[in-house]
């Protein structure tokens, strides 16, 4: 739910902290300029982040949903707006509209095992779901995180991955596409972890986020293991502008990704997923 009466009007937020995550990825901790505006969100939702005079981009919220402040966004600098955002520092101001969109099924998944599959910066939109699940650990069965990155230098949230891996109630497996000799972890694609993972397909809810090509192969592997499409949730990415289903920029078949997504139960969109053009 948005807490802004006018969903098209950005609320000014000040950058409280900038954290460099990877060479091209950074995290902004934001606090409202008026000091009172609070933004409650659910795991999987996104905000439109406005660089005044630069442009507006949809960015998933990567912080803890149990904490309303600071508002946390992890951003990969890939286009002109996000590259310009990378140059921002403490004290600078951005505009925030949101939160928007559907959520990871953290309530529906209670009582099930949870398999979380993330690729690259796709771990950021899943992090709020992980925080929620770990904060309510007793409500879930086995929890597994399978994460793939390009190289060891591209592993996002490394210290948290280590922390989660050190818990006794969560399995964390990380793999990279290639590495040099010093790397002691796995090398191979994330689908390989899914092929060999010891999860029970019947009892599993899978949350998948990453580039579409990675999600396609991850879903194929989950299906081969016996996880049905109605047990799989994906977060889609499209060119979102208004974020409220008016402008049509993010149309995906009969859906608007901003309003009907970004999180979809996969059986809703399976027929659209492999179309060559849409």
């Amino acid at each position: 739910m948005t807490h802004n009466a006018d969903p098209m009007r950005p609320i000014p937020y000040r950058i409280h902290r900038v954290r460099s995550e990877l060479a091209d990825t950074f995290t902004l901790d934001l606090v409202p300029e008026d000091g009172v505006h609070s933004l409650n969100f659910a795991p999987g939702q996104f905000n439109m982040v406005y660089l005044f005079g630069g442009g507006e981009v949809p960015i998933s919220i990567s912080g803890d949903p149990a904490r309303t402040a600071p508002l946390v966004h992890t951003i990969r600098a890939v286009g002109p707006v996000t590259r310009a955002m990378k140059a921002l520092g403490r004290g600078d101001t951005v505009g925030i509209r949101g939160p928007f969109g559907t959520t990871w099924p953290v309530i529906e998944a209670e009582g099930s095992d949870v398999v979380i599959v993330a690729g690259g910066v796709g771990l950021a939109p899943l992090r709020p779901a992980i925080y929620h699940i770990l904060a309510n650990r007793e409500k879930y069965g086995d929890v597994r995180l399978y994460y793939g990155a390009r190289t060891p230098d591209d592993i996002l949230f490394l210290s948290e991955l280590r922390e989660w891996r050190g818990r006794f109630d969560m399995i964390v497996e990380v793999t990279v596409d290639s590495a040099r000799g010093y790397w002691a972890g796995r090398v191979g694609v994330v689908t390989h972890l899914l092929e060999r993972g010891r999860y029970d397909p019947e009892e599993t809810v899978a949350l998948v986020c990453g580039p579409e090509i990675m999600m396609r192969f991850a879903i194929k592997t989950l299906n081969q293991r016996g996880v049905d499409n109605d047990q799989i949730y994906v977060s889609m990415e499209r060119n979102m502008k208004c974020a409220i289903g008016f402008c049509g920029h993010c149309q995906f078949g009969p859906y608007f990704v901003c309003k009907d997504g970004p999180v979809f139960r996969f059986d809703q969109i399976a027929s659209l997923f492999s179309l060559r053009e849409l």
Binding site: R150, S178, G181, V189, V190, T191, R196
Partner: protein, 153 residues
């Protein structure tokens, strides 16, 4: 010290040979040996004769491409329950990569020349083995393709 009977059991219990009949496992055990590698030791060296393949029982192995004057690139790691090596099936029977134990690694090695001898007399055994190798080869080809297209890009 493992006996032939012990090797037979280890073969039968390895996921690669899941479902293989006991008699075939016993035959294969005649070509098998237990080996152990410390972390950092090489099981395989690129360009050398491919005269074995390995069932990984414990530990992990990094498959590395050697690049002159540069640090080797790890292209895949293999772990307990997986197999290492299919160059022994394909002429000119030379290893195409190095394979380094990443930690203490226990394997069963199967001797290629011995296996070829058994296959000559028992085509069914050859078929059973090839049936298991082809999905592994297909999976590794698929992995290479996914790595090539940079799925996290």
């Amino acid at each position: 010290m493992s006996t032939k009977i012990g090797l037979d059991r280890l073969i039968r219990e390895h996921p690669f040979f899941q479902g293989m009949d006991a008699e075939a496992c016993e035959t294969l055990a005649g070509c098998a040996a237990n080996e152990r590698f410390n972390g950092g030791e090489y099981l395989i060296r690129q360009g050398e004769a491919a005269n074995k393949f390995y069932l990984i029982r414990h530990g992990s192995v990094a498959q590395e491409l050697r690049v002159p004057d540069r640090e080797s690139i790890i292209v895949q790691t293999l772990h307990e329950g997986e197999i290492l090596g299919w160059s022994w099936l394909v002429s000119p029977y030379r290893w195409t990569m190095d394979a380094r134990a990443m930690q203490l690694t226990r394997v069963l090695s199967l001797d290629a020349e011995c296996l070829r001898g058994k296959f000559a007399n028992d085509p069914t055994l050859a078929y059973e083995l090839f049936k298991r190798f082809i999905p592994v080869m297909a999976s590794r080809l698929q992995t290479s393709r996914l790595q090539l297209i940079d799925i996290y890009g």
